[in-house]
Symmetry: C2
């Protein structure tokens, strides 16, 4: 399924342990990765979709688990209609272990939370900022190189504002 | 995993093609199943969890697919803390086909929407009303016998207000 492949890649990227630090990358003295906070209340954001990457997947080692993807209200309209996302749009991937049993899959413990935030000033990374936190722990950001860990994989989606997620009615 | 079994059963029941018509069952002249409406905006309700029931599951024929479970704000606190749900609490199961490919699972087309609504007046069914719609189509309610199709399976959860879903942080 072509769309599934796209979804898998999408989550692969959103869920990658990546981060942005675009201010820092741009040589600005502004915001550092550690300034970014895990959003609150995202479980009541619009639920974009869920992707399970099981042990049988070649992506399991890097991205295994259940990815619950949300978007905040700022970005919701762009997700549905396509086009460019407005500043402040946030995608969040709440990644949990996945427990498989007799053909059923459900969430286990949290593995990571990853976000991508639209900020048009970040021209070197397509206007998006990334960050991720191990275990969803604010004290454990996983940022090292936003360009290599995030943007390079998102570049093929330039025509979709670098977003892989699509709206599933 | 014991909790997974519980979850599976939970979804089995919530997702069952069941409905309540409790007023009707009680002999009252009030609300019929066809009066119940599919809630709007539930994709931005609190996302309780997601369960995938794949072809390998013995539940596949009846309940196969990806179950995205939401709860409205009225019931959110009870979900987190346990105890009795207040009137107006609604669980909603948005069931989609699941597409499996190389160990990855994602949503396909919608199969059904199922709800359970707390209404303490419905004493014959534990204080809950159920309804489900094929394909999420308001014109296709799937109600026949709420007691047999819903309540009998929920009865073992009496100590949890007949709810199988649990809060996953």
């Amino acid at each position: 399924m072509k769309w599934l492949t796209v979804l898998v890649i999408a989550f692969a990227i959103v869920a990658s342990v990546v981060a942005a630090l675009l201010y820092a990358a741009g040589g600005s003295a502004a915001q550092s990765a550690s300034d970014l906070k895990i959003p609150t209340g995202y479980r009541s954001w619009f639920h974009v979709n869920t992707l399970v990457i099981d042990k049988a997947s070649p992506l399991f080692e890097a991205l295994g688990g259940m990815h619950n993807i949300y978007i905040n209200s700022t970005g919701q309209e762009a997700l549905k209609k396509g086009g460019t996302y407005p500043d402040g749009s946030i995608f969040l991937d709440d990644l949990h272990e996945v427990t498989a049993s007799d053909g059923s899959y459900a969430e286990g413990a949290r593995k990571a939370i990853t976000i991508m935030i639209k900020d048009n000033k970040q021209t070197s990374t397509g206007g998006w900022v990334w960050q991720a936190w191990a275990g969803g722990d604010q004290s454990k950001p996983l940022v090292t190189d936003a360009v290599k860990q995030c943007f390079e994989c998102h570049q093929p989606q330039k025509d979709h504002d670098y977003v892989y997620s699509t709206y599933i009615p």
